[in-house]
């Protein structure tokens, strides 16, 4: 018998970082290193309760430790938020294809995140930063509901200092003491002057945001085959069998989850 693809390996929570009142980053100590590409995802098990899919937020260049940033939103994530440092969880994966980083070389990349959606994108940002000279320009456009909902604040200065990275942040509504931009993340996408063949966009966030980001990008003549959306759906197996993540004939788990919009733009039930 071969390896059992349903069995999780056990990982210990080394550290928990409170990112926002509802988002925590869990740092897992891995007994066996897990190699992954930015954008690939893991099935994370709360023992005895169940699994949910998450994309690591840490750098793929580190394999003995993994960080996963999680918003408290459902049964599994609530149980995860109740765990403490030293507790054990299960991990399966990685699954999916991840971001097509090789296609981004010498291109302009727009990284567009909303809320906890910056988590998988952070893994991509770490990957791009690793060889930042390979890319013409990297724009990071990030929005959250309020200043306190902004994730990974400790990295903003560091990222902004890198010569070909431009970081822009907005919050949905005005807040006292907030001097930055106000408005939905799509307001950061006005009047982009893009060269269709040279520009890629990668976006992760709530599905409603992905929908309006896509509309905005298409309005500005983005190539649908160069827009990569994290169309996350319910995923149980991660292996292209259980059927839950289908968008048309595409199994997001194995073909994506970050898959170009052009491939499924005609499907009749695209956005939730």
């Amino acid at each position: 018998m071969g390896k059992n693809p349903y069995k999780p390996i056990i990982a210990k929570i080394k550290k928990i970082i409170n990112e926002t009142p509802t988002i925590k980053t869990f740092v897992f100590d891995l007994k066996e290193p897990i190699k992954f590409k930015a954008g690939q995802f893991m099935q994370l098990t709360v023992p005895g309760l169940g699994e949910a899919p998450f994309t690591p937020s840490s750098s793929p260049f580190i394999s003995n430790e993994m960080e996963i940033t999680i918003l408290k939103t459902g049964i599994v994530t609530e149980a995860l938020h109740n765990l403490k440092e030293g507790d054990e969880v299960g991990l399966r994966g990685p699954f999916g294809k991840g971001y097509p980083v090789e296609k981004f070389e010498n291109k302009i990349i727009y990284i567009i995140g909303g809320g906890v959606g910056l988590a998988p994108l952070r893994s991509l940002i770490f990957t791009l930063i690793h060889n930042y000279n390979n890319y013409k320009k990297i724009f990071i456009k990030y929005g959250a509901r309020s200043p306190e909902e902004l994730c990974f604040k400790r990295y903003y200065d560091e990222w902004s200092k890198i010569p070909n990275i431009e970081l822009e942040i907005t919050i949905d509504k005005p807040y006292p003491d907030w001097t930055g931009k106000v408005g939905l993340v799509t307001t950061l996408l006005e009047n982009l002057k893009i060269d269709k063949d040279e520009t890629y966009a990668v976006s992760c966030g709530p599905e409603i945001m992905l929908k309006f980001v896509t509309v905005k990008l298409l309005e500005q003549q983005f190539d649908p085959y160069k827009i990569y959306l994290s169309m996350n759906r319910k995923m149980s197996c991660g292996m292209g069998q259980c059927g839950k993540c289908n968008i048309g004939n595409i199994y997001l788990c194995k073909d994506g989850p970050d898959i170009c919009f052009g491939k499924y733009q005609d499907y009749f039930d695209l956005f939730c």
């Binding site: 059992n4 693809p5 349903y6 098990t45 197996c237 292996m239 059927g243 194995k254 939730c272």
Partner: protein, 351 residues
């Protein structure tokens, strides 16, 4: 030992041989006790109720390879697996069901990603041989011709070692395929293969004729389905048909190619958790429901359509084969009398 690929054997000799083999194998045999089902061959069975011909049992063949509930992992420690101690022979499996096993092979043996192969399915599949049999006495739900399949085995799948055709003198015409099982038959009659082949053609032609009559009642068949779905997806007639469905999920549980599942975890005790793989159904609202009460198909009509698209469109795009064997279980099970053949004929009228 005989080298003949095609020969005849009396039914009695065949059953005697199976009786011998049951020490070494669990033999699943179609048994008609008012309701046709696979039973494991044992002394208590009435030999007269063994029905090699006829059509497929109503019971779903997939459950012998992909059970409705299966413990697939324990953690943190992996328990010792119960190795299969006895190999199996499934006797009297029909071509429609062999086709669906081929579809399940594509899903669970995962050639694209061998590391994600379902090792439990593989173990059952590797340790099971098939002796297929021709259909006769077909029912009006039988739709193999509509999906381009035949009522007998013409392209045997792996481990399908032979096929039997029952002729009227209680003799069986046996065709041997690639047979690595070591199962051999003595007492074969000394006849010319050509003669047997001609006789078998006559029997097969009769069933084909009956199936042609069924097929002729419908305007559309598998070559039309994919296009019709895409042309009519927004038509209101879909709603009328979907509204008839009582959502019993009988068609999905009965379908030998429906393979969706859910992994469910349970705490057994303080040291052990189990993970189960259980059948799921895309007709359930909870099927693709995510945290935050979001689902891509909140309306039943979309879930209803999704299943038809999966079978007759997505399967074709992904593996170039339709996800339907024409076995007719979905029609036979449906209490709302939804019949995919009528559904597609209606779509043809409104396209």
């Amino acid at each position: 030992m005989n080298n003949k690929k095609l020969f005849t054997l009396s039914k009695l000799n065949f059953l005697e041989k199976l009786n011998e083999l049951k020490k070494e194998f669990d033999i699943y045999i179609p048994y008609n006790n008012g309701k046709k089902d696979y039973k494991i061959l044992n002394e208590e069975l009435d030999i007269n109720k063994i029905e090699l011909n006829g059509i497929r049992p109503l019971n779903n063949i997939k459950s012998l390879f992909f059970p409705s509930t299966k413990e697939v992992a324990t953690y943190p420690e992996e328990k010792e697996k119960n190795k299969i101690t006895k190999k199996r022979i499934i006797v009297g499996i029909k071509n429609c069901d062999l086709y669906s096993i081929m579809i399940l092979d594509k899903i669970f043996l995962n050639e694209e990603y061998p590391e994600f192969k379902d090792i439990f399915y593989e173990e059952l599949r590797e340790n099971t041989y098939f002796i297929s049999s021709d259909c006769d006495n077909i029912k009006d739900t039988c739709s193999c011709l509509l999906v381009n399949l035949l009522p007998y085995t013409n392209e045997p799948i792996k481990n399908c070692i032979m096929n039997i055709t029952e002729n009227k003198e209680d003799d069986l015409i046996i065709e041997i395929f690639e047979n690595k099982s070591g199962i051999e038959f003595g007492n074969i009659k000394n006849e010319k293969e050509e003669q047997i082949r001609t006789e078998r053609e006559k029997i097969r032609k009769k069933t084909i004729n009956e199936l042609e009559k069924i097929k002729s009642k419908f305007e559309t068949d598998i070559k039309d389905y994919q296009e019709l779905l895409n042309k009519t997806v927004n038509k209101k007639e879909w709603k009328i048909i979907a509204n008839k469905c009582v959502q019993c999920h009988g068609c999905i549980n009965g379908c030998p190619t429906c393979h969706c599942y859910l992994l469910v975890d349970a705490k057994i005790n303080s040291e052990k958790n189990s993970r189960y793989k259980i059948w799921d159904s895309c007709y359930y609202r909870a099927y693709a429901l995510m945290a935050g009460n979001i689902t891509p198909r909140p309306d039943f009509i979309k879930r209803f359509q999704h299943r038809y698209f999966h079978k007759y469109d997505y399967f074709l795009r992904n593996i170039n084969l339709p996800g339907c064997s024409g076995c007719g279980r979905c029609i036979e099970t449906c209490m709302a009398k939804i019949d995919f053949r009528i559904l597609f004929d209606k779509l043809k009228q409104i396209e």
